[in-house]
Amino acid sequence: MPDTIALKNTDTGIVTDKTLSGPRGPKPKRVISPRNIMLYGTLFVAAAYYLLPLYVMIVTSLKGMPEIRLGNIFSPPVEITFEPWVKAWATACTGLNCDGLSRGFWNSVRITVPSVVGSIAIASVNGYALANWRFKGSELFFSILVIGAFIPYQVMIYPIVIVLRELGIYGTLTGLIIVHSIFGMPILTLLFRNYFASLPQELFKAARIDGAGFWQIFLKIMVPMSLPIFVVAMILQVTGIWNDFLFGVVFTRPEYYPMTVQLNNIVNSVQGVKEYNVNMAATILTGLVPLVVYFVSGRLFVRGIAAGAVKG
């Protein structure tokens, strides 16, 4: 083991006899510097803007109607009540059905899970084919797809109604899953294509030399390497599909109506005065699933975005 003390004396030259005066060590940092005040000041103001509506929702959902009518929306509840939550979840009425959001919740799950899985499966395979197995015209189809991302959904409703009718799957869950897959395809395919293109090409070449085919390379090599982008896709689709109202209501029958439709019904079925507290509770309940997904995997989201969206 080299001897540090010896090193200092023999090798680093003679330390001149300057006294160790003046600044030494780390530059002292004031916690309350103008820079920090600006920085955190701005951040806190921004955070307040983003949190305000959430605060309003939560506070209001915990108040009783009389309190809402009297006080302002920002004042905290004097008397906390969970009645609105119970009502929103279980007893709010739409027409003759008085089971609140609960029915819609399971429908949403039944719609979201297969749609997310289906759309991600299709888009990831597409992205993979576009990044690694280009064929004549593949870029053209892709361009059409990307431009398709700009087309307002309303424009496409009618043609899709016709297509689904011709396929005989209008009003079925399958039909809705297909619709979600179609509209998720442009942006997801773009993400996956960029991500797979950013993976080292040599890996793909190595696998081909090893004799792996299209699907083997995809399933055994590419997919296991792509957690971040799958997380991004998952988050985007879960939020997108869970929050969807238009397709859920246009392309299914009432027994499959998702939670958002129930939410719309509760919010828009005004019985006398608007029951703001119930509406807020219903709103929070509806947004809960995507919110939880965000809180749980937000960090991966940023990483995945960096990997899939920014590298062009």
Binding site: E202, K205, A206, A207, R208, I209, K220
Partner: protein
Amino acid sequence: MNSSVSIKDLSLNFGAVSVLKDLNLEINDGEFLVLLGSSGCGKSTLLNCIAGLLDASDGQIFIKGKNVTWEEPKDRGIGMVFQSYALYPQMTVEKNLSFGLQVAKIPQPEIDKRVARASEILQIQPLLKRKPAELSGGQRQRVAIGRALVRDVDVFLFDEPLSNLDAKLRSELRVEIKRLHQSLKNTMIYVTHDQIEALTLADRIAIMKSGIIQQLADPTTIYNRPRNLFVAGFIGSPSMNFLRGEITKQGEQTFFTANGVNFSVADYHTPEVLQAGRKVILGVRPEHVKVNENLGAEVHDATVDIEEPMGADNLLWLKHAGHTMSVRINGARRFNPGSAVKLGFDMSLASIFDAETELRL
């Protein structure tokens, strides 16, 4: 020797860009062929064509006498090692080695045997259970070689396998690859832009420029008898010194004259081709210039511009008759910048090129 890989009139275009042009190459069985060239000259492209990872625009490729031009990579009997290692990151080393064999549905005992053999040869047995992320660069590259090894193929393709390693590891693995070739005796095609690798590893070197092979020969020939100016300048570090001038005759004697200074070319290995009046370029390697010692008959004056001690060697940059000239001398001999020295040239080891065709005379 019969040819192991044979490439006939191979062309490859990316859209309008022609990367390889009517390339012909015969590689003997068991030969270690190095493709050497600067970045972007088409080395990887050629290798990928041989591997079947790129479709040739025209021409044919034969491996072991079989036309494989349209075969899938896996059916060509080749193994390939990449610069970036290209190990499957989520698989253990063992799985990396056996993946291709499992895909090919080779029975497990056979797979185990091959993996065991490869890992023994490459001494990676202790690493088998690790994942690539847990390996050092050198270990990764060893695993990558192992992956080619287990495929039990006739031809190994290496695409700059050592470029990502630091100098020390690079020289170590270079020796190992050489040793591997000596024991396996497979055909190996090795792409690099590092001339040291090329010179030390190759049986023959193919020097490429813009998709065309400039010279194909063994390392000694390439170093000592470069076919043209490009090859001469490309090989050797520091580069060969080039002096632009012409051949003159003074009485019986033939000289190379540049900037009014005469150099006798009597010792040149083919003095007969040097007609007077011909514009030529004289090339002398730094180690063939003598300083103050063993000067020979002809002596020139020069001053030291810069000295670059490199340990075992010492590199001098001399100013001499308007040129800058690099000279390699023993590391123990030191000169101060600005000091005056005497120069001698070993003309028997020099090269003279036609100034126009740039071909060696």
